[in-house]
Subunit: 345 residues, 2 copies
DNA sequence: CTGTTAGCGCGTTCAA
DNA sequence: TTGAACGCGCTAACAG
């Protein structure tokens, strides 16, 4: 028999389909008893409207698209989780695409989503020029997450990247370090750029010397952290501290120091952006910059929904706060019991 | 002007809409030159068919739904990644819902997806009775992932749970352990049940004693691992080895041993299900049961697509292979260099 | 091989 | 306040 259609509900309630539609959507004026009859009929038939047909007619799909490079990465997982939570409250569905970082996949992903007539777009990967983006998007509202696209979209949201690195530099400086090395991410990425810039600025503010040999660029992987770490450990006059721009880079660097039998924090202080959930359990426990990744998702979704409502194309930018978590690897004294408390929390 | 519709393409090519449709979808016989003209017209107008309208007509949405409890967990992230990869090859879209573990949310999630007329369903969380499931699903093919639902759906896919724990028991036995403790997950979960059963069976096969006090049930969290670990460390006659049913539980147990200053593997051997990506970097590095979580996703998607094609409602069950990764925490000798190689790979 | 007709299930006119 | 008619964009059935 198939599921009940609006037609069936109308018949049963003894009204026309258009009246039934009005009753169920609460549109226009109509007699209370008519509405009641329709609602009852709908319930009895356990009527469920077809989003397909509805979208075709209303030109709204109640769907938003999310593009991330790899959903299996903890960061994007958390972001997606946050997005989902907000969409849920507003009865929107989430269409997820993880596109890899390949520009043509990203392009394809966007085209697919736009074909689907998503009502809005959340994009967290952006190896596409702003102009192309605008052309693709047309009038579909889009919020860029983590990877910014100035000159495109109705909103941008990112971490306080520069501030995060500044916290790390300042903290190391307070420990008395002057020769601080920096291991960053790709410079064609927002986070890569902003964190490096944050480092350079913070060093300058403190009047600390920046040596070219101590500033490395890597990819966002453990392997890359290891490679760059090995290189850094080989320079003639080793730095006394190292900042890495991500948790993966820090793990790679940690591996490198173990390989070289360099003691942390004794011979080298190590701190990083990204507070890995197991950071308190590493030995030494890792001092890091923490933030609420899930909040990026919720804020991004809110921004998008707001923009969809007002139709206000004024682009807004939002930053998610970061904070310093002091543990052992920077040289702080850190009660092991505290680590347990953290990890159990 | 809006995007071009099929109608427009047909006009420009000088044919009827239905012919245009046939040309673009490669259905039926038609003159090569006609087809060419249509294809050209479509390209010139950069025509993109509306999936909405198409679905309404064909009753296929080219969309599949995935329900997971929390996408921010690494396991589900990897599964989702695998699913996505396969769907992509077959031009299906993924609608993701992370439903928490709350039964009513799960139910709502399923209803939403079914309303959307997803062509198939992948469900990785199942606090719903099989009967209710069947009623909800109707004729929509569904594959259950990790959390099985016997008596429902066209397919079930899970890890070799019992074999995984058996590998751990056997390995500990080879190290000479006899008093082996077990810290498991919730018994209303497939993995929780199967892993416990695997433990009991493996112990029996080896003629090893199972003491009630040494078999604990927890949740899948670090905190739970810590609590149960503290309890286990307090029994009068401590076990010489501990198996945990998940990586989180192992981390919690590890924290507990540090709190009690119990040396691993010297005073207690610790091994677990789930090979955390940073396991080689922990001290001691963790011996664990590894598997390819992404493969769960790809296999699940393949199973579903196959079932959707044949319309064969015969339910199949698949198991994803597991393997033992020997490191230090079980008492094996483990070259630190090997850890580095692993982590960098 | 191609065109015409008729919906898929809705929401929104426009007229009563 | 309600109903009839129409069309969103597409494809399937039936003619020719």
């Amino acid at each position: 028999m198939g599921p009940a259609r609006l037609h069936d509900v109308a018949r049963r309630a003894g009204v026309s389909p258009s009246t039934a539609s009005r009753a169920l959507n609460g549109v226009g004026e109509l007699a209370p008893q008519t509405r009641a009859a329709v609602v009852r009929a709908a319930a009895e038939l356990s009527y469920r409207p077809s989003p397909q047909a509805r979208s075709l007619r209303t030109r709204r799909s109640m769907t938003i698209g999310l593009v991330v490079p790899t959903i299996s990465h903890a960061f994007y997982g958390a972001v997606t989780h946050g997005v989902q939570a907000v969409l849920d409250e507003h009865d929107y569905r989430l269409v997820l695409v993880d596109s890899t970082e390949d520009p043509v996949s990203v392009r394809r992903a966007l085209e697919t989503l736009l074909d689907q007539r998503v009502d809005g777009l959340l994009v967290s990967t952006a190896p596409i020029a702003a102009a192309d983006f605008n052309e693709l998007l047309g009038s579909t509202p889009c919020v860029f997450v983590d990877e910014l696209a100035p000159g495109s979209g109705v909103g941008n949201i990112a971490l306080e990247n520069a501030r995060g690195v500044t916290l790390l530099v300042d903290h190391l400086a307070e420990h008395g370090h002057r020769r601080i090395a920096y291991m960053g991410g790709p410079l064609d990425r927002t986070s890569g750029r902003e964190r490096l810039q944050g480092f350079l600025d913070a060093m300058e503010r403190r009047d600390l010397p920046v040596e070219q040999a101590l500033v490395r660029e890597g990819r966002w992987t453990i392997a890359s952290g290891f490679e760059e770490g090995m290189a850094l450990m080989s320079v003639p006059d080793r730095p006394s501290a190292l900042i890495t721009a991500s948790g993966e880079l820090a793990l790679g660097a940690l591996a490198a120091t173990r390989r070289r039998r360099i003691a942390i924090p004794g011979e080298l202080a190590l701190v990083c952006f990204d507070d890995l959930y197991f950071a308190p359990l590493l030995q030494p426990s890792l001092t890091a910059v923490a933030y609420d990744a899930r909040a990026m998702g919720t804020e991004a979704a809110r921004l998008l929904l707001a923009a969809m409502e007002d139709g206000d194309p004024r682009s807004s930018e939002l930053r998610i706060a970061v904070s310093l978590v002091r543990r052992r690897s920077c040289g702080c004294v850190y009660d092991p019991a505290a680590a347990l408390a953290e990890v159990v929390a």
